[in-house]
């Protein structure tokens, strides 16, 4: 016993030392960061002392409007020449687009999956059911195993991206790296820390499977995710700077305050949007992996395991998908607040049609999620009672979807324009405004919440004394929630735009009320509920698995689309209003070309990730556990299984 305790103690010391060593470079670099801010400020002062004639030049921050001492060179004024824009007889922007997108796909995936692992491993640690705990542990291990191969690819793609920048856009990259120089090395060191922590986390799984060491292992996943998130925030600061620069004067000269450069107008909305987006995307990819393994499974045991894995991944993905449109609204609101013209270009001008495509993809995501949940009801005995109501949900969803994707104006020939009497359709055109669209998407999300609640109570019957009132209240609450959302959408047509714009907030609050209050109410009602039948994992239609693959593909396509929209809104600027893009490719592509390019990126990602999945199946080695956990199979799943 004493020996075990000593071993544990030594393990903790060793682990702490390793983590400390990993974090040491970052801690060491912090004073140099401060120094980097102070040094340039002090340097001109020293120079001024030495040379009485030299003056300290000051500039005004383009965003914060504060004064600062100029410490950087102005943004280069590039020309369309091989010096500033070397080329390979091919459109350089397309090459960069490809490299960037692939790196982003893999980067998002490897940042999201460790968060999943953390959640699932935590569920395994806290659950009292030993068999279920081992199942969760195995699942978390499966997840991290997939992300490990993808992690190497992310690093390789990151290298390719940097080389693409250096080769094709040297002037721009040189300027950007001069601005972010004080944090560039931190980014690199964080990457080293991330890699180190990930490898210790993965390879230490078997050695740290019990007791305190397990908690230590779990806490490592927290460290891993903190590092990963900071890495992402730093990367986001670059794109935030390119869209809404700060910390520089009107000539693009750095003013010595790195926090201003990082903390631009769009940084926080981008951070939130990307975290949620990554999680939803990661969930989709893991669910697709599980679907692929389910479809190729040879035994019922494997089918049951991958059905369960797909469900968990989908549930996590959709949990983050639900708040994603709200984060998107916040980002757009900040875009409008930063530059109204930028917002108009996005949603009412040049790029507006891409938003119609985006709405279509969002609708597909929610339709696929709902379809999967309805199919999943089939694996529960007792859930048949909901089947007859599914058609009503389909009707509501389709109505919401059709309103959501209706464009404001149509692209038409002059003859069509004349026949219709204008660019706006006399009836359908009314649905092409935000008031209707807010109603549409909130109806879709509320219906998804309702499908989830049905799924969660599928094979259960409440035994609480107030069950009847609870059921009636829940039904009434959803009815009035739909009523309120639709009422606010209609009300918006009759009030001025400056009042109407505020109606989206109570609409969102209505949807969120359904999500939080009704999920909680359902949880209370189902506490100690009577099980009508077991969840038969693996006994689900094959169609449901294709729905998961559809979900993942739609996520991937939408990510590519939104990345393109966000990037192309800068139009002919490398850094908005600071550094002009003078390359021959500083124009906005047609919608068709962009769609083809996005599809190519999606196809490439999926082919490469299928290769990663295939690699994962080679040398399949389940986590060594003393007693093999019972497979989900046909065994009834405890409450936590939902």
């Amino acid at each position: 016993m004493g020996r075990i305790t000593r071993n544990k103690f030594l393990s903790i010391v060793a682990l702490s030392a390793m983590v400390g060593l990993l974090l040491l470079p970052i801690l060491v670099s912090i004073p140099s960061l401060v120094g980097a801010q102070e040094a340039p400020a002090g340097a001109p002062a020293d120079a001024a002392k030495k040379d009485g004639e030299q003056k300290v030049e000051k500039g005004r921050d383009v965003y914060y409007k504060t004064e600062g001492i100029v410490v950087g060179a102005p943004a280069p004024k590039t020309t369309d020449s091989p010096k500033d824009y070397p080329r390979y007889n091919f459109e350089s922007r397309v090459l960069l687009w490809f490299a960037n997108q692939q790196h982003l796909y893999y980067g998002s995936f490897v940042l999201a999956v460790p968060i999943f692992c953390m959640i699932i491993e935590f569920m395994g640690v806290v659950t009292k059911d030993k068999a279920l705990a081992k199942k969760y542990d195995q699942l978390a291990y499966d997840f991290i195993k997939i992300s490990l191969t993808a992690y190497s690819l992310t690093a390789i793609l990151g290298g390719i991206l940097i080389f693409t920048f250096l080769t094709l856009y040297p002037a721009f990259f040189s300027y950007l790296s001069s601005i972010f120089r004080p944090v560039m090395h931190i980014y690199a060191l964080m990457f080293v820390a991330e890699s180190g922590t990930l490898y210790i986390y993965y390879y230490g799984w078997d050695k740290m499977k019990e007791g305190l060491l397990k908690w230590l292992h779990l806490s490592m996943s927290v460290i891993l995710n903190v590092i990963g998130t900071v890495l992402m925030f730093l990367a986001n600061s670059w794109i935030g700077f390119m869209m809404s620069p700060a910390g520089v004067d009107e000539q693009g000269r750095y003013l010595g305050n790195i926090w201003h450069v990082i903390h631009t107008a769009l940084w926080n909305p981008l951070n939130l949007h990307r975290i949620l987006g990554n999680m939803a995307f990661g969930g989709g990819v893991v669910a697709a992996y599980a679907a692929y393994r389910f479809l190729s499974a040879k035994t019922d045991e494997d089918r049951a395991h991958y059905d369960w894995m797909g469900y968990i991944a989908m549930a996590i993905g959709v949990a983050f998908l639900i708040p994603l449109p709200f984060a998107g609204y916040w980002l757009m609101r900040e875009v409008y607040a930063y530059r109204q013209q930028m917002g108009i270009t996005l949603m009412g001008g040049l790029l507006a049609w891409l938003f119609i495509i985006q709405a279509t993809m969002i609708g597909i995501l929610f339709l696929s999620s709902n379809y999967y949940l309805w199919q999943a009801l089939g694996r529960m005995r007792g859930a048949e009672k909901y089947f007859k109501y599914v058609k009503y949900l389909v009707f509501i969803l389709v109505c919401g979807y059709l309103v959501f994707i209706t464009p404001h104006t149509m692209v038409m020939t002059p003859a069509e324009l004349k026949a219709m009497g204008g660019q706006q359709h006399p009836v359908l055109g009314n649905y092409g405004v935000m008031s209707a669209k807010n109603g549409g998407i909130n109806v879709i999300i509320t219906t998804t919440v309702l499908s989830f609640i049905w799924y969660m109570r599928g094979n259960k019957e409440s035994t609480v004394s107030w069950a009847k009132f609870g059921n009636i209240f829940m039904g009434t609450f959803f009815f009035w929630a739909y009523f309120n959302i639709i009422w606010l959408a209609i009300y918006g047509y009759y009030i001025p735009a400056n009042v109407r714009v505020g109606l989206s907030v109570p609409q969102v609050a209505t949807t969120l009320s359904c999500l939080f209050f009704m999920t909680a109410l359902n949880g209370f009602m189902m506490k100690g509920a009577k099980q009508l039948g077991p969840i038969e994992w693996g006994k689900i239609s094959v169609r449901s698995q294709y729905a998961l693959i559809m979900l993942a593909t739609a996520f991937t396509w939408m990510m590519g689309l939104m990345g393109y929209i966000r990037s192309s809104v800068r139009l002919f600027w490398h850094v908005n209003e600071i550094m002009r893009d003078n390359s021959p490719w500083a124009y906005t592509h047609t919608v068709g070309f962009a769609a083809n390019m996005i599809s190519f990126n999606v196809l490439f990602f999926w082919i490469s990730i299928l290769f990663v999945f295939w690699l994962g199946t080679l040398g399949v080695k389940k986590i060594p556990v003393e007693a093999k956990a019972p497979v989900p199979g046909t065994a009834p799943q405890p409450v936590g299984g939902h």
Binding site: K468, F469, I472, F473, G475, T476, F477, F479, W480, A481, F483, N484, L488, Y491, Y494, I495, P496, N498, V499, G502, L503, V505, P506, A509, T510, S513
Partner: protein, 40 residues
């Protein structure tokens, strides 16, 4: 049956009050008037 109707009535009253308060206060927090059309 009577009990069901009673429960529906009670639930409706709670929900209508709740959503009206949500609409009113969330508009008010933004400095906007939810009752704009009715006051005109």
């Amino acid at each position: 049956m009577g009990q069901t109707i009673f429960y529906i009535l009670i639930s409706t009253v709670i929900c209508v009050i709740y959503f009206t308060l949500v609409d009113h206060f969330l508009m008010d927090m933004q400095g906007l008037d939810y009752w704009y059309l009715f006051r005109k």
